[in-house]
């Protein structure tokens, strides 16, 4: 399954932007676990996912072509 990954801030340095292949996953919880396995640095960071431009607050189904944004908090001003 191909998922479009959009990253922000420091996360862009860890995870590349663009289409990424996954197999055997069906929801955002599994996607999170897979991403943290592929990119262990992510597990130590604070971040939030958005699925098709809506914030993910509970486990949601993920289908082919979904757009997942991965956003860290910013503090600068």
């Amino acid at each position: 399954m191909e998922i479009d990954i959009v990253t922000f801030g420091k996360i862009t340095e860890i995870i590349p932007n663009g289409m990424m292949s996954f197999s055997g996953l069906t929801d955002t919880d599994q996607l999170k676990a897979t991403l943290e396995q592929r990119y262990p640095e992510l597990a130590g960071m604070k971040y939030k996912l958005a699925l098709n431009k809506t914030l993910v607050q509970e486990n949601k189904p993920v289908i082919e072509g979904a757009v997942i944004a991965i956003m860290p908090p910013f503090s600068g001003g």
Partner: protein
Amino acid sequence: MSERYSRQLVLQGFGVRSQNKLSKASILVIGAGGLGCPALQYFTGVGIGRIGIVDGDHVSLSNLHRQVLFNTADIGKLKTEVAFQKLTAANPETIIETFPFAIKADNCLDLLENYDVILDCSDNFGTRYLLNDACALLNKPLIFAAVSAWEGQIAVFDNNENGLRTNYRDLFPNQPGSHEIPNCEENGVIGVLPGVIGTMQAAEAIKLITGIRKPLINQLLNYNLLDQSIYIIDILPAPAGSYELPADRIEFSTRRYQEISAGTDSDIIEINVEEMHDLINKGSTIVIDVREIHERPSLSTKHIQVPMSAFDSSLPDEINEPNIVLVCQHGIRSLAAAEKLRSKYHGQKNIYSLAGGIARWYGQL
């Protein structure tokens, strides 16, 4: 109505009604830095009735590339004082109120209560969570923005009682720890970025006050300066139990909103400049500047320099003084250094970090 506002008065959908709403409105801007400077200038320009500015810092040379209200001759002056002069000169019809100190849990609610709209133009998570919780408690609209390197975030948390209600904790429930935050020097920012984002904050406030079109309520706008892209997501409330907002004033005042959270078992004490001088005068105290060699201004207080980039290797093998005071530019790296020393000395030393860093106590060090 005055010629001053003639160009916006003729705007379709704006008119005298909008101008009256703006002239009756009051806005509190927390932080007269990269975000706050452009926002303050446009608020004054558009004719906001009353503007409050909260900032305890003094202007420094490294501010000038992004803090466009200040010039070279202002270095060392209080930001609020310079802002007052420049903004009052730009538009004497706008009342400017200044609060030259840091916002804290004990002064926050009283300050916020006197304003219609709150702008978070701060530069640290402690203040951001403090403002978020205070605005949620007081039902005050909060316009949040933050920047990092080439990117910015902006969101409007309306906090009115009607409809969907979200706040910053729905995005990030808990304050990040010090190890999760890039340090103040390392991260860097191009001056024009907070210029863009601070101007967007001003635009959102004007939309919110006049009721013209829809502000970014319950939305997070991500901006990337390098490709001029905007990515807006809808914010939904987090499931119950994800976080707890203070239920009332008493609970709010007893919460700890540190500039960064230094861990739960912290025995690091954050001190102000007077407490630092008291320690030095008592003797048996060493001051360690953890900034990089090229950073300015230099400290006139007696100290040793142990840059954070080579902290472990440059730290003297033996420190005889029982009291160690760590300082950096904004008091963020010094807390991280204090944590390192805490694990090294296991309670054998009294470890202090200068809150707010050299930027806050400019001229007193």
